[in-house]
Symmetry: C3
Subunit: 203 residues, 3 copies
Amino acid sequence: MITFDLFTTIDALGTFAFAVSGATAAIRSRYDIFGILVLAFVTAIGGGTTRDLLIGNTPVNWLTDTLTIWSIVAGFLFGLLLHRKIGKWEGWFFFFDAVGLGVFTVTGVQIGLQAGMGIGISVALGAVTGCFGGVIRDVLAATKPLIFRKEIYASASVIGGLLYIMIVEFGESIIVAQITAIAAVLFIRFIAVHYKLELPKIN
Amino acid sequence: MITFDLFTTIDALGTFAFAVSGATAAIRSRYDIFGILVLAFVTAIGGGTTRDLLIGNTPVNWLTDTLTIWSIVAGFLFGLLLHRKIGKWEGWFFFFDAVGLGVFTVTGVQIGLQAGMGIGISVALGAVTGCFGGVIRDVLAATKPLIFRKEIYASASVIGGLLYIMIVEFGESIIVAQITAIAAVLFIRFIAVHYKLELPKIN
Amino acid sequence: MITFDLFTTIDALGTFAFAVSGATAAIRSRYDIFGILVLAFVTAIGGGTTRDLLIGNTPVNWLTDTLTIWSIVAGFLFGLLLHRKIGKWEGWFFFFDAVGLGVFTVTGVQIGLQAGMGIGISVALGAVTGCFGGVIRDVLAATKPLIFRKEIYASASVIGGLLYIMIVEFGESIIVAQITAIAAVLFIRFIAVHYKLELPKIN
Protein backbone atom coordinates (compact mmCIF):
# COMPACT_ATOMS: atom_id res chain seq x y z
CA MET A 1 0.00 0.00 0.00
CA ILE A 2 2.89 2.32 -0.72
CA THR A 3 0.76 4.45 -3.06
CA PHE A 4 -1.87 5.08 -0.41
CA ASP A 5 0.82 5.97 2.10
CA LEU A 6 2.37 8.37 -0.40
CA PHE A 7 -0.96 10.12 -0.87
CA THR A 8 -1.58 10.23 2.90
CA THR A 9 1.84 11.79 3.41
CA ILE A 10 1.25 14.42 0.72
CA ASP A 11 -2.21 15.11 2.18
CA ALA A 12 -0.67 15.69 5.61
CA LEU A 13 1.89 18.04 4.04
CA GLY A 14 -0.93 20.00 2.38
CA THR A 15 -2.80 20.25 5.66
CA PHE A 16 0.40 21.38 7.37
CA ALA A 17 1.03 24.05 4.72
CA PHE A 18 -2.50 25.44 4.92
CA ALA A 19 -2.23 25.53 8.73
CA VAL A 20 0.98 27.56 8.44
CA SER A 21 -0.71 30.05 6.11
CA GLY A 22 -3.63 30.44 8.55
CA ALA A 23 -1.27 30.97 11.48
CA THR A 24 0.65 33.59 9.51
CA ALA A 25 -2.54 35.49 8.61
CA ALA A 26 -3.58 35.51 12.28
CA ILE A 27 -0.19 36.79 13.43
CA ARG A 28 -0.44 39.62 10.89
CA SER A 29 -3.93 40.49 12.25
CA ARG A 30 -2.43 40.71 15.78
CA TYR A 31 -4.51 37.81 17.09
CA ASP A 32 -3.51 36.04 20.30
CA ILE A 33 -2.19 32.47 20.58
CA PHE A 34 -5.69 31.03 20.56
CA GLY A 35 -6.72 33.04 17.51
CA ILE A 36 -3.59 31.84 15.71
CA LEU A 37 -4.46 28.21 16.51
CA VAL A 38 -8.06 28.66 15.35
CA LEU A 39 -7.06 30.27 12.06
CA ALA A 40 -4.49 27.52 11.43
CA PHE A 41 -7.24 24.97 12.05
CA VAL A 42 -9.95 26.67 10.01
CA THR A 43 -7.67 27.29 7.02
CA ALA A 44 -6.60 23.65 6.95
CA ILE A 45 -10.04 22.06 7.37
CA GLY A 46 -12.34 24.77 5.93
CA GLY A 47 -12.38 23.53 2.36
CA GLY A 48 -12.98 19.87 3.15
CA THR A 49 -15.57 20.75 5.78
CA THR A 50 -17.55 22.97 3.39
CA ARG A 51 -17.52 20.16 0.81
CA ASP A 52 -18.61 17.56 3.37
CA LEU A 53 -21.45 19.77 4.62
CA LEU A 54 -22.71 20.39 1.06
CA ILE A 55 -22.87 16.71 0.16
CA GLY A 56 -24.06 15.59 3.60
CA ASN A 57 -20.86 13.74 4.56
CA THR A 58 -21.23 14.12 8.34
CA PRO A 59 -19.69 13.83 10.86
CA VAL A 60 -17.05 15.69 8.85
CA ASN A 61 -13.87 13.66 8.48
CA TRP A 62 -11.39 15.60 10.64
CA LEU A 63 -13.50 14.90 13.74
CA THR A 64 -12.13 11.36 13.67
CA ASP A 65 -8.84 11.85 11.83
CA THR A 66 -5.89 12.10 14.20
CA LEU A 67 -3.29 12.67 11.48
CA THR A 68 -5.11 15.81 10.30
CA ILE A 69 -5.23 17.21 13.83
CA TRP A 70 -1.50 16.66 14.40
CA SER A 71 -0.61 18.07 10.98
CA ILE A 72 -2.49 21.25 11.94
CA VAL A 73 -0.83 21.47 15.34
CA ALA A 74 2.55 21.06 13.64
CA GLY A 75 1.68 23.80 11.14
CA PHE A 76 0.54 26.06 13.97
CA LEU A 77 3.78 25.57 15.91
CA PHE A 78 5.86 26.00 12.75
CA GLY A 79 4.05 29.26 11.90
CA LEU A 80 4.43 30.46 15.48
CA LEU A 81 8.12 29.74 15.94
CA LEU A 82 9.38 30.66 12.51
CA HIS A 83 7.13 33.51 11.42
CA ARG A 84 10.01 36.00 11.53
CA LYS A 85 11.95 33.95 9.03
CA ILE A 86 9.01 33.43 6.71
CA GLY A 87 10.59 35.64 4.10
CA LYS A 88 13.44 33.17 3.75
CA TRP A 89 11.07 30.21 3.65
CA GLU A 90 8.75 31.73 1.06
CA GLY A 91 9.73 29.25 -1.64
CA TRP A 92 8.93 26.34 0.65
CA PHE A 93 5.55 27.78 1.60
CA PHE A 94 4.64 28.37 -1.99
CA PHE A 95 5.58 24.76 -2.72
CA PHE A 96 3.66 23.30 0.25
CA ASP A 97 0.64 25.46 -0.49
CA ALA A 98 0.58 24.41 -4.14
CA VAL A 99 0.95 20.73 -3.18
CA GLY A 100 -1.91 21.17 -0.73
CA LEU A 101 -4.05 22.84 -3.38
CA GLY A 102 -3.36 19.97 -5.79
CA VAL A 103 -3.97 17.21 -3.24
CA PHE A 104 -7.15 18.78 -1.86
CA THR A 105 -8.43 19.34 -5.40
CA VAL A 106 -7.96 15.65 -6.20
CA THR A 107 -9.55 14.57 -2.90
CA GLY A 108 -12.54 16.82 -3.53
CA VAL A 109 -13.05 15.58 -7.10
CA GLN A 110 -12.82 11.95 -5.98
CA ILE A 111 -15.35 12.45 -3.18
CA GLY A 112 -17.69 14.27 -5.55
CA LEU A 113 -17.56 11.42 -8.09
CA GLN A 114 -18.05 8.82 -5.32
CA ALA A 115 -21.14 10.73 -4.13
CA GLY A 116 -22.56 10.36 -7.64
CA MET A 117 -22.15 13.98 -8.74
CA GLY A 118 -21.64 14.97 -12.38
CA ILE A 119 -18.27 16.04 -13.78
CA GLY A 120 -18.87 19.80 -13.49
CA ILE A 121 -20.04 19.62 -9.90
CA SER A 122 -17.19 17.26 -8.95
CA VAL A 123 -14.66 19.71 -10.37
CA ALA A 124 -16.40 22.50 -8.44
CA LEU A 125 -16.22 20.41 -5.26
CA GLY A 126 -12.50 19.94 -5.91
CA ALA A 127 -12.07 23.70 -6.15
CA VAL A 128 -14.16 24.24 -3.01
CA THR A 129 -11.97 21.72 -1.15
CA GLY A 130 -8.76 23.37 -2.36
CA CYS A 131 -9.76 27.01 -2.00
CA PHE A 132 -12.43 27.54 0.62
CA GLY A 133 -10.17 27.20 3.63
CA GLY A 134 -8.31 30.28 2.43
CA VAL A 135 -11.58 32.16 1.91
CA ILE A 136 -12.71 31.46 5.49
CA ARG A 137 -9.22 32.41 6.74
CA ASP A 138 -9.48 35.81 5.06
CA VAL A 139 -13.04 36.42 6.30
CA LEU A 140 -11.98 35.66 9.90
CA ALA A 141 -8.87 37.84 9.53
CA ALA A 142 -11.27 40.58 8.30
CA THR A 143 -9.54 41.08 4.95
CA LYS A 144 -10.94 40.82 1.42
CA PRO A 145 -10.46 37.21 0.33
CA LEU A 146 -7.13 37.10 -1.53
CA ILE A 147 -8.20 34.31 -3.81
CA PHE A 148 -10.72 36.53 -5.57
CA ARG A 149 -7.99 38.98 -6.53
CA LYS A 150 -4.54 37.40 -6.73
CA GLU A 151 -2.75 35.34 -9.39
CA ILE A 152 -4.44 32.30 -10.92
CA TYR A 153 -5.29 30.02 -8.03
CA ALA A 154 -8.74 28.50 -8.25
CA SER A 155 -8.30 28.20 -12.00
CA ALA A 156 -5.30 25.95 -11.36
CA SER A 157 -7.54 23.80 -9.20
CA VAL A 158 -10.25 23.62 -11.88
CA ILE A 159 -7.76 22.61 -14.56
CA GLY A 160 -6.22 20.00 -12.24
CA GLY A 161 -9.66 18.58 -11.48
CA LEU A 162 -10.63 18.33 -15.15
CA LEU A 163 -7.31 16.65 -15.93
CA TYR A 164 -7.86 14.10 -13.17
CA ILE A 165 -11.28 13.16 -14.54
CA MET A 166 -10.01 12.96 -18.13
CA ILE A 167 -7.14 10.67 -17.20
CA VAL A 168 -9.41 8.34 -15.22
CA GLU A 169 -11.90 8.33 -18.12
CA PHE A 170 -9.09 7.28 -20.47
CA GLY A 171 -8.65 4.17 -18.34
CA GLU A 172 -5.45 5.10 -16.52
CA SER A 173 -5.02 4.11 -12.88
CA ILE A 174 -6.14 6.41 -10.06
CA ILE A 175 -2.56 6.97 -8.92
CA VAL A 176 -1.44 8.17 -12.35
CA ALA A 177 -4.39 10.57 -12.46
CA GLN A 178 -3.63 11.81 -8.95
CA ILE A 179 0.04 12.48 -9.60
CA THR A 180 -0.57 14.10 -12.99
CA ALA A 181 -3.30 16.39 -11.61
CA ILE A 182 -1.19 17.45 -8.65
CA ALA A 183 1.80 18.07 -10.91
CA ALA A 184 -0.38 20.18 -13.23
CA VAL A 185 -1.62 22.33 -10.34
CA LEU A 186 1.97 22.80 -9.18
CA PHE A 187 3.09 23.74 -12.67
CA ILE A 188 0.27 26.24 -13.24
CA ARG A 189 0.85 27.85 -9.86
CA PHE A 190 4.59 28.10 -10.54
CA ILE A 191 4.03 29.71 -13.95
CA ALA A 192 1.35 32.06 -12.61
CA VAL A 193 3.45 33.34 -9.72
CA HIS A 194 6.72 33.42 -11.66
CA TYR A 195 5.23 35.48 -14.50
CA LYS A 196 2.73 37.31 -12.24
CA LEU A 197 -0.18 36.16 -14.35
CA GLU A 198 -3.61 37.34 -13.20
CA LEU A 199 -7.11 36.74 -14.41
CA PRO A 200 -8.62 39.82 -16.05
CA LYS A 201 -10.52 42.34 -13.95
CA ILE A 202 -13.42 44.47 -15.18
CA ASN A 203 -13.12 48.24 -15.25
CA MET B 1 -48.10 21.17 -15.72
CA ILE B 2 -48.18 24.78 -16.80
CA THR B 3 -48.29 26.03 -13.19
CA PHE B 4 -45.21 24.07 -12.20
CA ASP B 5 -43.40 25.28 -15.29
CA LEU B 6 -44.39 28.85 -14.48
CA PHE B 7 -42.92 28.51 -11.00
CA THR B 8 -39.76 26.87 -12.33
CA THR B 9 -39.34 29.74 -14.79
CA ILE B 10 -39.81 32.39 -12.10
CA ASP B 11 -37.40 30.48 -9.85
CA ALA B 12 -34.77 30.51 -12.60
CA LEU B 13 -35.34 34.26 -13.07
CA GLY B 14 -34.84 34.82 -9.35
CA THR B 15 -31.63 32.78 -9.40
CA PHE B 16 -30.46 34.76 -12.42
CA ALA B 17 -31.19 38.10 -10.72
CA PHE B 18 -29.35 37.15 -7.53
CA ALA B 19 -26.38 35.97 -9.62
CA VAL B 20 -26.29 39.37 -11.35
CA SER B 21 -26.28 41.18 -7.98
CA GLY B 22 -23.40 38.98 -6.77
CA ALA B 23 -21.40 39.60 -9.94
CA THR B 24 -21.96 43.35 -9.60
CA ALA B 25 -20.79 43.38 -5.97
CA ALA B 26 -17.62 41.48 -6.97
CA ILE B 27 -16.86 43.89 -9.83
CA ARG B 28 -17.18 46.80 -7.39
CA SER B 29 -14.75 45.06 -5.01
CA ARG B 30 -12.23 44.76 -7.91
CA TYR B 31 -12.30 40.95 -7.87
CA ASP B 32 -11.03 39.00 -10.87
CA ILE B 33 -13.16 36.91 -13.26
CA PHE B 34 -13.09 33.93 -10.94
CA GLY B 35 -14.09 36.01 -7.91
CA ILE B 36 -16.99 37.45 -9.90
CA LEU B 37 -18.17 33.95 -10.82
CA VAL B 38 -17.91 32.75 -7.23
CA LEU B 39 -19.85 35.72 -5.84
CA ALA B 40 -22.55 35.26 -8.50
CA PHE B 41 -22.79 31.61 -7.47
CA VAL B 42 -22.74 32.15 -3.72
CA THR B 43 -25.32 34.95 -3.83
CA ALA B 44 -27.71 32.81 -5.87
CA ILE B 45 -27.40 29.59 -3.87
CA GLY B 46 -26.42 30.91 -0.41
CA GLY B 47 -29.93 31.23 0.99
CA GLY B 48 -31.21 27.85 -0.16
CA THR B 49 -27.97 26.16 0.90
CA THR B 50 -28.09 27.61 4.42
CA ARG B 51 -31.71 26.45 4.73
CA ASP B 52 -30.89 22.95 3.46
CA LEU B 53 -27.93 22.62 5.84
CA LEU B 54 -30.05 23.70 8.83
CA ILE B 55 -32.79 21.15 8.18
CA GLY B 56 -30.40 18.41 7.03
CA ASN B 57 -31.50 18.39 3.37
CA THR B 58 -28.23 17.10 1.91
CA PRO B 59 -26.80 16.81 -0.67
CA VAL B 60 -28.01 20.40 -1.16
CA ASN B 61 -30.26 20.72 -4.19
CA TRP B 62 -28.11 22.76 -6.62
CA LEU B 63 -25.52 19.95 -6.70
CA THR B 64 -27.92 18.04 -8.95
CA ASP B 65 -29.93 20.90 -10.47
CA THR B 66 -28.68 21.84 -13.94
CA LEU B 67 -31.19 24.69 -14.46
CA THR B 68 -29.88 26.48 -11.36
CA ILE B 69 -26.28 26.19 -12.57
CA TRP B 70 -27.10 27.60 -16.01
CA SER B 71 -29.22 30.41 -14.53
CA ILE B 72 -26.20 31.42 -12.45
CA VAL B 73 -23.82 31.26 -15.41
CA ALA B 74 -26.26 33.43 -17.39
CA GLY B 75 -26.47 35.93 -14.53
CA PHE B 76 -22.67 35.98 -14.27
CA LEU B 77 -22.26 36.69 -18.00
CA PHE B 78 -25.03 39.29 -17.92
CA GLY B 79 -23.40 41.09 -14.97
CA LEU B 80 -20.00 40.88 -16.65
CA LEU B 81 -20.99 42.20 -20.06
CA LEU B 82 -23.51 44.81 -19.05
CA HIS B 83 -22.20 46.14 -15.75
CA ARG B 84 -21.45 49.55 -17.24
CA LYS B 85 -25.05 49.96 -18.25
CA ILE B 86 -26.43 48.79 -14.95
CA GLY B 87 -27.67 52.27 -14.14
CA LYS B 88 -30.06 52.08 -17.08
CA TRP B 89 -31.19 48.60 -16.12
CA GLU B 90 -31.79 49.42 -12.48
CA GLY B 91 -35.54 49.07 -12.73
CA TRP B 92 -35.20 45.60 -14.22
CA PHE B 93 -32.77 44.51 -11.52
CA PHE B 94 -35.01 45.76 -8.79
CA PHE B 95 -37.86 43.80 -10.38
CA PHE B 96 -35.84 40.57 -10.83
CA ASP B 97 -34.42 40.81 -7.33
CA ALA B 98 -37.88 41.30 -5.81
CA VAL B 99 -39.29 38.38 -7.81
CA GLY B 100 -36.36 36.27 -6.60
CA LEU B 101 -36.96 37.33 -3.00
CA GLY B 102 -40.65 36.41 -3.33
CA VAL B 103 -40.03 33.06 -5.04
CA PHE B 104 -37.25 32.01 -2.68
CA THR B 105 -39.39 33.02 0.31
CA VAL B 106 -42.22 30.78 -0.90
CA THR B 107 -39.81 27.90 -1.66
CA GLY B 108 -38.29 28.20 1.80
CA VAL B 109 -41.65 28.28 3.58
CA GLN B 110 -42.86 25.24 1.61
CA ILE B 111 -39.74 23.23 2.39
CA GLY B 112 -39.99 24.18 6.07
CA LEU B 113 -43.62 23.03 6.26
CA GLN B 114 -42.78 19.80 4.39
CA ALA B 115 -39.99 19.12 6.90
CA GLY B 116 -42.59 19.31 9.68
CA MET B 117 -41.52 22.69 11.12
CA GLY B 118 -43.97 25.02 12.86
CA ILE B 119 -45.32 28.19 11.25
CA GLY B 120 -42.84 30.60 12.86
CA ILE B 121 -39.81 28.52 11.91
CA SER B 122 -41.12 27.93 8.37
CA VAL B 123 -41.50 31.70 7.89
CA ALA B 124 -37.98 32.16 9.25
CA LEU B 125 -36.68 29.52 6.82
CA GLY B 126 -38.40 31.43 4.01
CA ALA B 127 -36.60 34.62 5.07
CA VAL B 128 -33.29 32.73 5.33
CA THR B 129 -33.79 31.36 1.81
CA GLY B 130 -34.63 34.79 0.41
CA CYS B 131 -32.06 36.87 2.26
CA PHE B 132 -29.01 34.85 3.24
CA GLY B 133 -27.39 34.76 -0.19
CA GLY B 134 -27.09 38.53 -0.01
CA VAL B 135 -25.60 38.36 3.48
CA ILE B 136 -22.89 35.91 2.35
CA ARG B 137 -22.27 38.08 -0.73
CA ASP B 138 -21.61 41.11 1.46
CA VAL B 139 -19.37 39.18 3.87
CA LEU B 140 -17.23 37.87 0.97
CA ALA B 141 -17.11 41.36 -0.58
CA ALA B 142 -15.90 42.56 2.86
CA THR B 143 -18.70 45.11 3.32
CA LYS B 144 -21.28 45.44 6.10
CA PRO B 145 -24.30 43.35 5.06
CA LEU B 146 -26.68 45.76 3.30
CA ILE B 147 -29.76 43.89 4.35
CA PHE B 148 -29.23 44.83 7.99
CA ARG B 149 -29.29 48.53 7.13
CA LYS B 150 -31.27 49.32 3.97
CA GLU B 151 -35.00 49.67 3.18
CA ILE B 152 -37.46 47.01 4.26
CA TYR B 153 -36.26 43.77 2.72
CA ALA B 154 -36.41 40.81 5.07
CA SER B 155 -39.64 42.18 6.51
CA ALA B 156 -41.18 41.88 3.03
CA SER B 157 -40.09 38.24 3.02
CA VAL B 158 -41.61 37.60 6.46
CA ILE B 159 -44.94 39.18 5.46
CA GLY B 160 -44.99 37.19 2.20
CA GLY B 161 -44.28 33.98 4.08
CA LEU B 162 -47.07 34.59 6.61
CA LEU B 163 -49.48 35.40 3.79
CA TYR B 164 -48.60 32.17 1.98
CA ILE B 165 -49.33 30.09 5.08
CA MET B 166 -52.59 31.95 5.81
CA ILE B 167 -53.91 31.42 2.27
CA VAL B 168 -53.06 27.73 2.31
CA GLU B 169 -54.71 27.41 5.75
CA PHE B 170 -57.88 29.00 4.33
CA GLY B 171 -58.07 26.12 1.87
CA GLU B 172 -56.93 27.89 -1.28
CA SER B 173 -54.72 26.07 -3.77
CA ILE B 174 -50.94 26.18 -3.53
CA ILE B 175 -50.64 28.13 -6.77
CA VAL B 176 -52.95 30.91 -5.52
CA ALA B 177 -50.93 31.14 -2.32
CA GLN B 178 -47.66 31.23 -4.26
CA ILE B 179 -48.73 33.99 -6.63
CA THR B 180 -50.34 36.09 -3.90
CA ALA B 181 -47.27 35.82 -1.65
CA ILE B 182 -44.87 36.71 -4.47
CA ALA B 183 -47.09 39.64 -5.50
CA ALA B 184 -47.17 40.86 -1.89
CA VAL B 185 -43.37 40.78 -1.63
CA LEU B 186 -43.11 42.68 -4.93
CA PHE B 187 -45.64 45.26 -3.75
CA ILE B 188 -43.95 45.83 -0.37
CA ARG B 189 -40.53 46.13 -1.99
CA PHE B 190 -41.89 48.63 -4.54
CA ILE B 191 -43.53 50.77 -1.84
CA ALA B 192 -40.45 50.58 0.42
CA VAL B 193 -38.00 51.65 -2.27
CA HIS B 194 -40.33 54.21 -3.88
CA TYR B 195 -41.03 56.00 -0.57
CA LYS B 196 -37.56 55.19 0.88
CA LEU B 197 -39.12 53.49 3.89
CA GLU B 198 -36.66 52.10 6.43
CA LEU B 199 -37.03 50.18 9.60
CA PRO B 200 -36.20 52.29 12.65
CA LYS B 201 -32.65 52.38 13.96
CA ILE B 202 -31.66 52.85 17.60
CA ASN B 203 -29.65 55.87 18.69
CA MET C 1 -36.15 16.46 37.77
CA ILE C 2 -35.00 19.58 39.57
CA THR C 3 -31.45 19.20 38.24
CA PHE C 4 -32.61 19.07 34.62
CA ASP C 5 -34.81 22.11 35.17
CA LEU C 6 -31.90 23.95 36.75
CA PHE C 7 -29.74 23.23 33.70
CA THR C 8 -32.53 24.21 31.30
CA THR C 9 -32.96 27.48 33.16
CA ILE C 10 -29.24 28.25 33.07
CA ASP C 11 -29.14 27.30 29.37
CA ALA C 12 -31.97 29.76 28.66
CA LEU C 13 -30.10 32.46 30.61
CA GLY C 14 -26.97 31.80 28.53
CA THR C 15 -28.98 32.02 25.31
CA PHE C 16 -30.55 35.26 26.58
CA ALA C 17 -27.15 36.76 27.40
CA PHE C 18 -25.65 35.89 24.02
CA ALA C 19 -28.72 37.37 22.31
CA VAL C 20 -28.19 40.62 24.24
CA SER C 21 -24.55 40.77 23.15
CA GLY C 22 -25.56 40.23 19.51
CA ALA C 23 -28.21 42.95 19.70
CA THR C 24 -25.70 45.35 21.23
CA ALA C 25 -23.13 44.69 18.48
CA ALA C 26 -25.80 45.35 15.83
CA ILE C 27 -26.89 48.61 17.45
CA ARG C 28 -23.26 49.75 17.48
CA SER C 29 -22.99 48.91 13.75
CA ARG C 30 -26.09 51.11 13.10
CA TYR C 31 -28.18 48.17 11.87
CA ASP C 32 -31.97 48.47 11.71
CA ILE C 33 -34.46 46.59 13.90
CA PHE C 34 -34.33 43.52 11.68
CA GLY C 35 -30.54 43.47 11.66
CA ILE C 36 -30.54 43.70 15.45
CA LEU C 37 -32.92 40.73 15.70
CA VAL C 38 -30.83 38.66 13.28
CA LEU C 39 -27.58 39.35 15.12
CA ALA C 40 -29.24 38.50 18.45
CA PHE C 41 -30.40 35.23 16.91
CA VAL C 42 -27.17 34.32 15.17
CA THR C 43 -25.02 35.07 18.22
CA ALA C 44 -27.21 32.90 20.43
CA ILE C 45 -27.53 29.89 18.11
CA GLY C 46 -24.33 30.18 16.04
CA GLY C 47 -22.13 28.02 18.24
CA GLY C 48 -24.60 25.17 18.70
CA THR C 49 -25.57 25.26 15.04
CA THR C 50 -21.94 25.02 13.87
CA ARG C 51 -21.42 22.07 16.20
CA ASP C 52 -24.61 20.33 15.01
CA LEU C 53 -23.67 20.83 11.36
CA LEU C 54 -20.18 19.40 11.91
CA ILE C 55 -21.41 16.23 13.58
CA GLY C 56 -24.47 15.86 11.33
CA ASN C 57 -27.08 16.58 14.03
CA THR C 58 -29.79 17.92 11.73
CA PRO C 59 -32.36 19.41 11.76
CA VAL C 60 -30.40 21.63 14.17
CA ASN C 61 -32.03 21.74 17.59
CA TRP C 62 -33.34 25.33 17.79
CA LEU C 63 -35.65 24.65 14.82
CA THR C 64 -37.88 22.73 17.22
CA ASP C 65 -36.97 24.34 20.55
CA THR C 66 -39.47 26.99 21.61
CA LEU C 67 -37.64 27.98 24.80
CA THR C 68 -34.53 28.92 22.81
CA ILE C 69 -36.57 31.09 20.45
CA TRP C 70 -38.26 32.97 23.30
CA SER C 71 -34.99 33.40 25.18
CA ILE C 72 -33.55 35.05 22.08
CA VAL C 73 -36.59 37.30 21.60
CA ALA C 74 -36.30 38.32 25.27
CA GLY C 75 -32.59 39.07 24.83
CA PHE C 76 -33.33 41.07 21.67
CA LEU C 77 -35.97 43.19 23.46
CA PHE C 78 -33.73 43.61 26.49
CA GLY C 79 -30.82 44.79 24.33
CA LEU C 80 -33.14 47.10 22.39
CA LEU C 81 -34.82 48.79 25.33
CA LEU C 82 -31.92 49.05 27.69
CA HIS C 83 -28.94 49.60 25.43
CA ARG C 84 -28.41 53.13 26.73
CA LYS C 85 -28.03 51.85 30.25
CA ILE C 86 -25.72 49.03 29.30
CA GLY C 87 -22.85 50.72 31.06
CA LYS C 88 -24.63 50.30 34.38
CA TRP C 89 -25.53 46.71 33.60
CA GLU C 90 -22.03 45.68 32.52
CA GLY C 91 -21.46 43.47 35.53
CA TRP C 92 -24.67 41.57 34.84
CA PHE C 93 -23.79 41.07 31.18
CA PHE C 94 -20.37 39.80 32.03
CA PHE C 95 -21.99 37.36 34.46
CA PHE C 96 -24.64 36.17 31.98
CA ASP C 97 -22.12 35.85 29.19
CA ALA C 98 -19.76 33.81 31.35
CA VAL C 99 -22.62 31.56 32.49
CA GLY C 100 -23.61 31.09 28.86
CA LEU C 101 -20.02 30.27 27.90
CA GLY C 102 -19.84 27.69 30.69
CA VAL C 103 -23.23 26.11 29.95
CA PHE C 104 -22.67 25.96 26.19
CA THR C 105 -19.21 24.49 26.75
CA VAL C 106 -20.67 21.69 28.85
CA THR C 107 -23.52 21.09 26.36
CA GLY C 108 -21.04 20.89 23.50
CA VAL C 109 -18.71 18.48 25.32
CA GLN C 110 -21.64 16.23 26.28
CA ILE C 111 -22.98 16.12 22.71
CA GLY C 112 -19.48 15.38 21.39
CA LEU C 113 -19.04 12.47 23.81
CA GLN C 114 -22.53 11.14 22.99
CA ALA C 115 -21.67 11.25 19.28
CA GLY C 116 -18.71 8.98 20.03
CA MET C 117 -15.94 11.59 19.58
CA GLY C 118 -12.64 11.40 21.44
CA ILE C 119 -11.77 13.65 24.39
CA GLY C 120 -9.82 16.25 22.42
CA ILE C 121 -12.50 16.64 19.76
CA SER C 122 -15.27 16.78 22.39
CA VAL C 123 -13.45 19.58 24.20
CA ALA C 124 -13.02 21.36 20.86
CA LEU C 125 -16.76 20.94 20.15
CA GLY C 126 -17.44 22.47 23.58
CA ALA C 127 -15.30 25.48 22.68
CA VAL C 128 -17.00 25.74 19.26
CA THR C 129 -20.40 25.71 20.97
CA GLY C 130 -19.37 28.36 23.49
CA CYS C 131 -17.41 30.65 21.20
CA PHE C 132 -18.55 30.44 17.60
CA GLY C 133 -21.73 32.47 17.99
CA GLY C 134 -19.55 35.44 18.94
CA VAL C 135 -17.27 34.85 15.95
CA ILE C 136 -20.24 34.87 13.52
CA ARG C 137 -21.61 37.99 15.29
CA ASP C 138 -18.34 39.84 14.68
CA VAL C 139 -18.10 38.71 11.05
CA LEU C 140 -21.66 39.93 10.35
CA ALA C 141 -20.96 43.19 12.19
CA ALA C 142 -17.89 43.52 9.92
CA THR C 143 -15.36 43.75 12.77
CA LYS C 144 -12.33 41.59 13.54
CA PRO C 145 -13.55 38.76 15.77
CA LEU C 146 -12.96 39.94 19.36
CA ILE C 147 -12.40 36.46 20.69
CA PHE C 148 -9.14 36.13 18.78
CA ARG C 149 -7.73 39.20 20.48
CA LYS C 150 -9.27 39.87 23.90
CA GLU C 151 -8.74 38.42 27.39
CA ILE C 152 -8.76 34.69 27.92
CA TYR C 153 -12.10 33.44 26.62
CA ALA C 154 -11.88 30.26 24.59
CA SER C 155 -9.14 29.03 26.91
CA ALA C 156 -11.65 29.24 29.77
CA SER C 157 -13.96 27.07 27.69
CA VAL C 158 -11.22 24.53 26.98
CA ILE C 159 -10.27 24.28 30.66
CA GLY C 160 -13.94 23.93 31.65
CA GLY C 161 -14.44 21.18 29.07
CA LEU C 162 -11.38 19.23 30.24
CA LEU C 163 -12.52 19.57 33.85
CA TYR C 164 -15.97 18.23 32.98
CA ILE C 165 -14.52 15.15 31.31
CA MET C 166 -12.06 14.52 34.17
CA ILE C 167 -14.80 14.69 36.80
CA VAL C 168 -17.07 12.32 34.87
CA GLU C 169 -14.12 9.94 34.37
CA PHE C 170 -13.52 9.94 38.15
CA GLY C 171 -17.03 8.56 38.56
CA GLU C 172 -18.80 11.65 39.82
CA SER C 173 -22.37 12.38 38.70
CA ILE C 174 -23.08 14.43 35.60
CA ILE C 175 -24.60 17.24 37.63
CA VAL C 176 -21.46 17.63 39.79
CA ALA C 177 -19.34 17.76 36.64
CA GLN C 178 -21.66 20.29 35.03
CA ILE C 179 -21.71 22.67 37.99
CA THR C 180 -17.96 22.40 38.62
CA ALA C 181 -17.14 23.05 34.95
CA ILE C 182 -19.48 26.04 34.75
CA ALA C 183 -18.08 27.44 38.00
CA ALA C 184 -14.53 27.02 36.68
CA VAL C 185 -15.35 28.91 33.47
CA LEU C 186 -16.95 31.70 35.54
CA PHE C 187 -13.92 31.86 37.84
CA ILE C 188 -11.39 31.96 35.00
CA ARG C 189 -13.37 34.64 33.17
CA PHE C 190 -13.63 36.71 36.37
CA ILE C 191 -9.89 36.46 37.05
CA ALA C 192 -9.00 37.18 33.42
CA VAL C 193 -11.15 40.31 33.16
CA HIS C 194 -10.37 41.55 36.67
CA TYR C 195 -6.61 41.32 36.17
CA LYS C 196 -6.78 42.06 32.40
CA LEU C 197 -4.98 38.84 31.59
CA GLU C 198 -4.39 38.18 27.91
CA LEU C 199 -2.86 35.38 25.97
CA PRO C 200 0.51 36.28 24.48
CA LYS C 201 0.67 37.81 21.02
CA ILE C 202 3.55 37.38 18.58
CA ASN C 203 5.58 40.36 17.45
